[in-house]
């Protein structure tokens, strides 16, 4: 269920790497755990984020969680459509429900992330 081409963090975020740009979101597992997402608080584009650093909050009807970036770098774009349509995180977790695009500061960071298979055993624990 988790796309093979992505990398995953223990904190249940995914990253899709395209050259030096990483698109970041939360996993299907995380979206299901949260339930219906109501608010996504994201930083402004232009700032920096560290690998595994907190960058925002995501809130569902019944709970709230911090968001941690699976890669570090400068934030080049945030998904503004989530302000009005936060349900995209539930509906299209690995597509339109993306959160940030980051210019990766160091490709070696990707070695700290998991494959889809490793992530699935992580969530099965």
């Amino acid at each position: 269920m988790n796309p093979e081409e992505l990398r995953y963090s223990k904190e249940h975020e995914w990253v899709r790497v395209d050259g030096d740009t990483a698109t970041v979101g939360i996993t299907r597992f995380a979206a299901d755990q949260l339930g219906d997402v109501v608010y996504v608080d994201l930083p402004d584009a232009g700032g920096d984020v560290e690998q595994f650093g907190k960058f925002g909050e995501i809130e569902s009807v019944k709970t709230v969680s911090d968001l941690f970036s699976p890669v570090g770098g400068s934030i080049v774009e945030v998904n503004e459509t989530l302000k009005d349509n936060p349900e995209k995180v539930n509906e299209d977790t690995y597509g339109d429900g993306w959160l940030l695009k980051i210019a990766i500061s160091d490709q070696a960071q990707l070695d700290n992330l998991m494959s889809a298979e490793a992530y699935e055993s992580h969530t099965a624990e």
């Binding site: 249940h12 939360i26 949260l34 339930g35 809130e59 009807v61 709970t63 941690f68």
Partner: protein, 392 residues
Amino acid sequence: MVIWKPCIAAINCYDELPSNPDLPADQLLTDSELKKTPLFETHLAADARMVPFGGWSMPVQYPSGIIAETRSVRERIGIFDVSHMGRFEFTGTGAVAFLDTVLSAHVAALKPGRSKYHIICNEQGGIIDDAIVYRLEEDRCLLVVNAANAEADMDWIRPKAAEFGDVVITDTTISTGMIAVQGPEAVQIIDDLSDGTASSIRRFRVGLVEVGGIECLAARTGYTGEDGFELMPSASDVAGLWNTLADAGAAPCGLGARDVLRLEAGLMLHGNDMTVDNNPYEAGLAWTINLDKPDYIAGDALGRIAAEPTERVIAGFKMTGRAIPRHGMPILEEDQQIGTVTSGTHSPTLDADIGMGYVPRRLADEGTEILISVRGRNVPAIVVDIPFYRRT
């Protein structure tokens, strides 16, 4: 992800890790220690997410999600497994007179076939629980209480009943089940399934009907702000009744939607919005109390409390800034804490973030501006009248 900020009520905590020390004890029970309703397997087969609640394993939501489930109840019809609620029959020539000594309602004034929402207060006027008492027959009443409090309620009530005499208490929680059927289409659908007999039971009345061929005690009560029934068949018939209702178009709903619906309707949750440390006057529940009946155990204490206005009072509020209030968050006036949020949620029906909490009386008027401290951020809110939602 790290789930933030624990909240006390089990229903708000389903994403908390079991290692969290702030969780109520029942969250720490293992699966095998949790009680299961007759619909447990039905919930699992429907891929419901199960959570511990009041010592029971209960569905918090189905795959459709809390928002869709809430919408089903507001717009059409939803069903809830409420078999976990404590059900106790009081029979015998002393039953009614006894209940009048321990419940805030005047049971003797209820005709058979009628019911009353009320509270159970201790000798000091503290609220032990809220409940509905149904007078089924002259000498037979049914008391339905919160699952989480059922044991404590009965530990308090049983010795008093034994001393009073001529009253037999039968726990029917396990031998029966209970399904709440709620929403604007609920009465029509139940009527169709009962050959037109159910709709003759009016609001807050109770009677025996056959729904889809299954005999049920049918109470025209609920906890959502919508019209509907709470159906109580024998335990062996609950799954059949559930499937009949689902086949008739009712959407299965979990505790998550139930919590949103009750809060939108301004209905209080014991353990959150009122506890044994609250008196019913500050909780806005004076209307549930009859002080004219004789021999009421909390009568003297409640009479004293009623004699003057309480210092604090429960107030509803709506966020004007973007944030969802949650149980336990501080309520501020400028930078001073003046209260605590007792319940809060995002309301899909109103598309607003709403909550309740106790504040000093002078700050309880509609339109008063307050602040809610949301994880260190002070977010503005405005006091509004309860209920937040009223069906049209």
